[in-house]
Symmetry: C2
Subunit: 436 residues, 2 copies
């Protein structure tokens, strides 16, 4: 017989139906919140011209991209939703309405070495706002408001959106005469919380920083402990010559004020000067989000502002700000901690067991229930009652309705609440109320 391997490829997630239901619930909630804030849906193909996908990427990312040729065409599977957004905006720039608030939810592909918590195929759920030439700072503040609303709806209270501004970091480097090493230092700052102090010091020494400079860099992390007003005051003290630092502080202050105005509780956001974000296209505000009860998961939602998103595809300038949730990884991490409820095995709320000759009684009841948006299945009497009840039981279906000769005669239905074990005889019109 067959020796075909039916397991999914390593690094690919595949769920059982009950897990899929839980996953879809999160996906729906994310979409719902994105739409509540007025983001418009965009879906781009999974396959793009290779030149589009490879325009910006390089190094590690490029090695991970799935590329292949068919006929004369070099194609690549998208590795994120931002590159396709940039192409999309360039292609339709004359018809899109700006500011362009778009959301995109879809799978992306990275041929990474598979390891726990890393996926080769995974969902990204992105929002971005783009405008032509310049983009109002209020959108930098709206992004955390969306995130806060979203995580609350997903059932989390104890999360922190950490906010920083690249101009602040770059400006500090300028003040400290470290500008030429800023990319390398940013990379080290990104790890400042994850690695022991001596490793950080060593890495900074390797860059050729002297003791004073190393102390200055480490002091950046210390500033986080201050409250927000104090922190901004300290930053203004550091600022002497760097205009980029001044700009960064001004922006950060405005954004933080607006985030408060937007009603994001202070326990759900914080300035964090160590948030740098690896991607070098961020130029202003940057975000990371942690679930404080599960710090080891790392950031579950990150992003930032870029001054010129579509520069590889159009001459026009489109600044943007946005974030991305890697839902496949987030789901996997929450699931492995027992934080995902997978009790619901099927959408079905009601199973009708017809034990009379004429199935029409059952079918017309089913139609009535479905018209009232109640998910309903019908079992005809050809199957054994035992098999039918086992099905309802194994799938945790909350209600079973029996139709026997007596029910048909009296024009009513026996409705059994499977959780309570309670059974009632009621008229059709009463069923909806009883079930809801």
């Amino acid at each position: 017989m067959t020796t075909i391997n039916t397991k999914v490829l390593p690094g690919f997630m595949e769920l059982k139906p009950n897990e899929q239901i839980a996953f879809n619930k999160m996906l729906d909630e994310i979409r719902n919140v994105y739409e509540l804030f007025g983001f418009r849906p965009v879906e781009t193909p999974i396959l793009e011209r290779a030149e589009v996908v490879l325009a910006k990427s390089g190094g590690d990312t490029e090695k991970q991209i799935y590329t292949f040729s068919k006929g004369d065409t070099n194609m690549a599977m998208r590795f994120d939703l931002t590159v396709p957004l940039a192409r999309y905006v360039a292609e339709y720039e004359n018809t899109l309405v700006f500011p362009f608030k778009r959301y995109a939810i879809g799978r992306v592909y990275r041929g990474e070495r598979p390891q726990a918590g890393r996926f080769r195929e995974f969902y990204q759920c992105d929002i971005d706002v783009l405008d032509k030439d310049s983009l109002d700072l209020s959108y930098d503040a709206e992004i955390p408001a969306v995130i806060a609303s979203l995580f609350r709806r997903l059932g989390f209270e104890n999360f922190t959106i950490r906010i920083n501004n690249r101009k602040v970091l770059n400006g500090i480097f300028e003040e400290y005469s470290l500008k030429d090493k800023s990319q390398d230092i940013l990379r080290i700052i990104d790890k400042i919380e994850k690695l022991p102090k001596d490793v950080i010091v060593e890495e900074l020494e390797d860059l050729g920083l002297d003791d004073k400079q190393i102390e200055d860099i480490q002091n950046i992390a210390e500033l986080n402990k201050l409250d927000q007003e104090e922190l901004v005051k300290k930053l203004r003290n550091i600022q002497k010559n760097s205009s980029i630092l001044k700009e960064g502080i001004d922006e950060l202050e405005i954004v933080v004020k607006k985030i408060k105005d937007l009603g994001v509780g202070e326990k759900n956001f914080a300035i964090d000067l160590t948030v740098a974000r690896g991607l070098d296209y961020y130029t202003g505000t940057v975000y990371e989000t942690r679930l404080n009860d599960y710090p080891e998961i790392g950031s579950v939602c990150s992003g930032g502002r870029y001054d010129d998103l579509a520069s590889y595809y159009t001459k026009n300038k489109y600044p943007g700000v946005g974030i991305s949730i890697g839902l496949t990884r987030l789901f996997d991490q929450l699931y492995s901690r027992g934080l995902i409820n997978t009790d619901i095995q099927t959408p079905t709320k009601v199973v009708i067991l017809s034990m009379v000759d004429d199935d029409k009684y059952a079918y017309s009841l089913a139609e009535y229930l479905r018209e009232n948006n109640i998910e309903t299945e019908v079992f005809s009497k050809e199957d054994s009652i035992k098999k039918q009840l086992k099905y309802a039981d194994r799938l945790n279906i909350p209600f079973v309705i029996f139709i026997g000769e007596e029910e048909v005669e009296n024009n009513n239905y026996s409705v059994k609440d499977m959780k309570k074990g309670e059974q009632v005889k009621i008229k059709m019109e009463e069923i909806i109320k009883y079930i809801s």
Copy 2:
């Protein structure tokens, strides 16, 4: 500057946000109906082991499959959702609850020569019911009930689900001693409505059929004109020795009766003995669905029953029945005929224009509206009023709420209905009602 081509690849569909909203509405409705009938969601990866995808395919299909290697792994992009379902059932057969009613909605890939109405990336929306060893015929009848319910919810009344049974066709061939040519004849019968009579006759002659046999085959199409009872009676007259024909007629009769019991109106379904469906794995009931006002679109929803779906991946036998909607093509066909309403440009129902210093009034109103599931955007006074109103107008946003000094003072809001041109001053609590 750049010379990167920002157009999507030929054969790939990419929509503007308003088109995407219309597309998603159809997608949501399909999912909703599938769930109302108790189908459970399954999502499989887009990339599979090449051996999985290539196990069954051959000929034209195989040439269309996107395959490539990464490291030691030969991978292929799925070309349908049925092959992954077969693999899925084989992989999880010990934990799945049967009958397994599953729906899958996702994109599939076929590297066909691009032409009008053909896509290389397209959505399939599938339902299938599988059971172990044997599957009740009532599911063959439920499938058309789902389709009928779905197309009605999509706004169509004038459609016909055409039903046939492969055993009937194969049985007739047996009676007519044409069994050895059945595959070829099936292929010709599939085209009997599309091609002129003389072409059909010629093709049957090429197969070596004599005049009597050719007449017999053509008479099969003639039977369609009879009403259902007459038709079944005629089939029983043809049946003399073929047990497979007897089985087919019995099945067809049962399924048709149940479809009626299920409440599918007689104008929405018909027996059609010319429906054969190309795929050779169908073994019983087969379906096609036409929109009668647009016959040139062809079948918009097809499928059938297969005796043994997962035979390439497991020794156990899983008969199944299901159908698939090619939504990308359907949307494209409807759109090109002006049948898709794309007036909705954004999910946003309300734009709040804040013209006071403190944006908090606007933000807290927005939060209140979103909590009541009303999609809301806020414009702060930093943008010009003109730009803001232009945005609301271009995106067809139905309501604009103004907050000025007077409104703050009197604790009310000026709500403008953009369609009616009417403006009222009301309290926060009255807004939900006014808008709904």
